[in-house]
Amino acid sequence: MTVIRQEATSGSTGDWHLERKRAWSNWMTGMMFLLPSLILFGVFLFYPMVRTVYLSLFLTDSQGVPVVFVGWENFVNLFQSTSFQLSAKATALFVLYTVPAGIVLATALAILANQKLRGIGLFRTMFSATMGMSVAASSVIWMFLFNPSIGLFNRILAALNIPGVQWLLDPQYALLSVSVATIWMNTGFAFLILLGGLQNIDQSLYESARIAGVSESYKLRKITLPMLSPTLFFVTTVSLINAFQTFGQIDLLTRGGPMESTNVIVYSIYKDAFINYNVGSASAQAVLLFVAVLIVTVLQFKIGERKVHYQ
């Protein structure tokens, strides 16, 4: 006992040094573990982000090298250009068309596929299959479906004696058509996550409800949806961000046309940067898109999270 006490008193200043040393070595160890991701994030995420903001303040040459510092001019030009306004509108509409409908559809499918029926595994596989399909392959399928002369949709219309529609070539329909294809492509992912969420709900809650004798719709409203809300919240957030960033199917199905009706911001960025070689303007758009996604996500967290019941 005495020995220990002696050490403790004589080492009180030493303790402080020791503690600092331990803290430092702890920090170093932590850093070592973080380093790989920090490097990856730095090279592929943080650096490009900073670089984009930097470039958005410059006029660039065709190589993308900043030439003249122009300050906010790129942004001012964007806000004045009708093309950008159309892009913004198309993006907003695209998000509006795809996210709510996609989530409702995926939720409905997940609830259906969560029943205990023979052969339900087949349906679960089918409903989630789109997750395993590349955008390119899916786009080809939809290209065939939308084809004005041999496509399924126009054949159905023809069978009903309704004149065919130029699904991807009519500015009135193009964005809607792309949205439908996108909903289909994204359903698999949302479905799978939501099904997982449903299966996590304690079965005895439903058994208790069965004994109480409440109706199916009451169970859906009072048990399933509230218990699923954290999953729904996650899926909504991911889908929103995803929708803002959609590129593949637009490039393959419409190339931003017709009459720029599907020229969402991501596609517009791509065109400005790699076709018009206007990297400054493209960067400015990228910054605006980033801000828009950020605002929507923050809003979603602020508003949506209040309605989420975490366990």
Binding site: E207, S208, I211, A212, G213, V214, P226
Partner: protein
């Protein structure tokens, strides 16, 4: 109050193996009926079949004399407390308690009144606006109980409701549940794997093992008169001591040299000369100097305050436990002389485990005849 009759009730999940095998029992109105048995013996399955949550493979379930095999759970007019409470985590205590009452055409006002009444009864009034996660285990359990009580259903099913609680709270809730059941006069079917709960709460109990009924009866009858070695070793804490014994002339010989005399009527019941002998721990005592005793070696001693449990070696690979009142200062390793009260012997068939003879039951029968 409801009468529940099971007639040859059988359950098989996979169509091959029976989880419950032809259960026959009648549970009387207002009875506190306890289902007890080891893990996996089919207690929950039986309760869920009565609730209508599990289909009935064969046999009949009757409620108040009417066949109820195909009745939906809500039409059976019962309430159930689940093992994990099954509270809705997103609803407040009050909403949890009144959940589904609208189906029974109970007005909002009446719902509120009833909820307040049961909350007062169960000491939940201060917690009505809280979510389940903000409650302690015991409080959650009371919410589950309140939810069952508030429906005023005449039959209540409970599946191991106390298994998650600590010993002290469990003892308290045991008596609370029992009082509540008496007060409301409901029929209760209560599942547990804890024999103390079964003994202390039941009007009658059923011991299940591997889907078979082992014994049905009042707790004391079951305790004094176990129908077979399974019940003997399951009911009672510590359980009944068992050992194989041989009969030679008019004595019973266990472990080669320990012997006890057997009476004539005992002998009359014996067909074989090999039986399993059962003795309750409280019927083993230290032999007085004048008494004949049997020398054994103490393996372990547990002093519980009011009583002492002494484990001693008996036979080659058997250990017996004796229970004495008071605090004993015997040390492990000591040699002691024990005496077995030969008015409380039970004999079981070594092959089937069925009871052949039990002195307690003979005495009880005699008493009945003479009175």
């Amino acid at each position: 109050m409801r009468k529940v009759e099971l007639k040859g009730l059988t359950k098989s999940y996979d169509g091959k193996q029976d989880v419950l095998k032809a259960i026959d029992v009648t549970i009387e109105p207002g009875e506190f009926f306890v289902l007890v048995g080891p893990s996996g013996c089919g207690k929950s399955t039986m309760l869920r079949m009565i609730a209508g949550l599990e289909s009935i493979t064969a046999g009949e379930l009757a409620l108040d004399g009417k066949r109820a095999n195909a009745l939906s759970p809500s039409d059976r007019d019962l309430s159930m407390v689940f093992q994990n409470y099954a509270l809705y985590p997103h609803l407040t205590v009050e909403q949890n308690i009144t959940f589904g009452l609208h189906v029974k055409k109970i007005s909002k006002k009446e719902q509120k009144a009833r909820c307040e009444e049961v909350c007062a009864m169960l000491g939940l009034t201060d917690y009505m606006k809280r979510k389940p996660k903000e409650l302690s285990g015991g409080q959650r359990q009371r919410v589950a109980l309140a939810r069952a009580v508030v429906t005023q259903a005449p039959l209540c099913l409970m599946d191991e409701p106390l298994s998650n609680l600590d010993a002290k709270l469990r003892a308290k809730m045991r008596s609370e549940i029992r009082q509540l059941q008496r007060k409301l006069g409901i029929t209760m079917i209560y599942v547990t794997h804890d024999q103390t709960e079964a003994m202390t709460m039941a009007d009658r109990m059923m011991i299940l093992s591997g889907g078979d009924v082992q014994q049905i009866g009042r707790p004391l009858d079951v305790y004094n008169n176990p129908a077979n070695t399974f019940v003997a070793s399951f009911i009672g804490s510590p359980p009944m001591n068992l050992i194989e014994a041989e009969i030679s002339d008019s004595v019973l010989v266990a472990d080669g040299h320990w012997m006890t005399p057997i009476t004539a009527d005992m002998k009359a019941k014996l067909q074989t000369d090999k039986v399993t002998l059962g003795v309750r721990p409280e019927h083993i005592s230290l032999a007085k100097d004048s008494e004949p005793g049997f020398l054994v070696q103490v393996a372990n001693v547990e002093v519980l305050g009011t009583e002492t449990l002494v484990t001693f070696d008996f036979g080659e690979d058997t250990q017996w436990i004796a229970k004495w009142n008071g605090q004993s200062d015997i040390q492990p390793g000591a040699q002691i002389r024990i005496a077995v009260d030969d008015h409380h012997l039970a004999l079981y068939s070594t092959e089937t485990g069925e009871r052949i003879y039990c002195q307690a039951s003979e005495q009880a029968a005699e008493k009945k005849v003479s009175s």
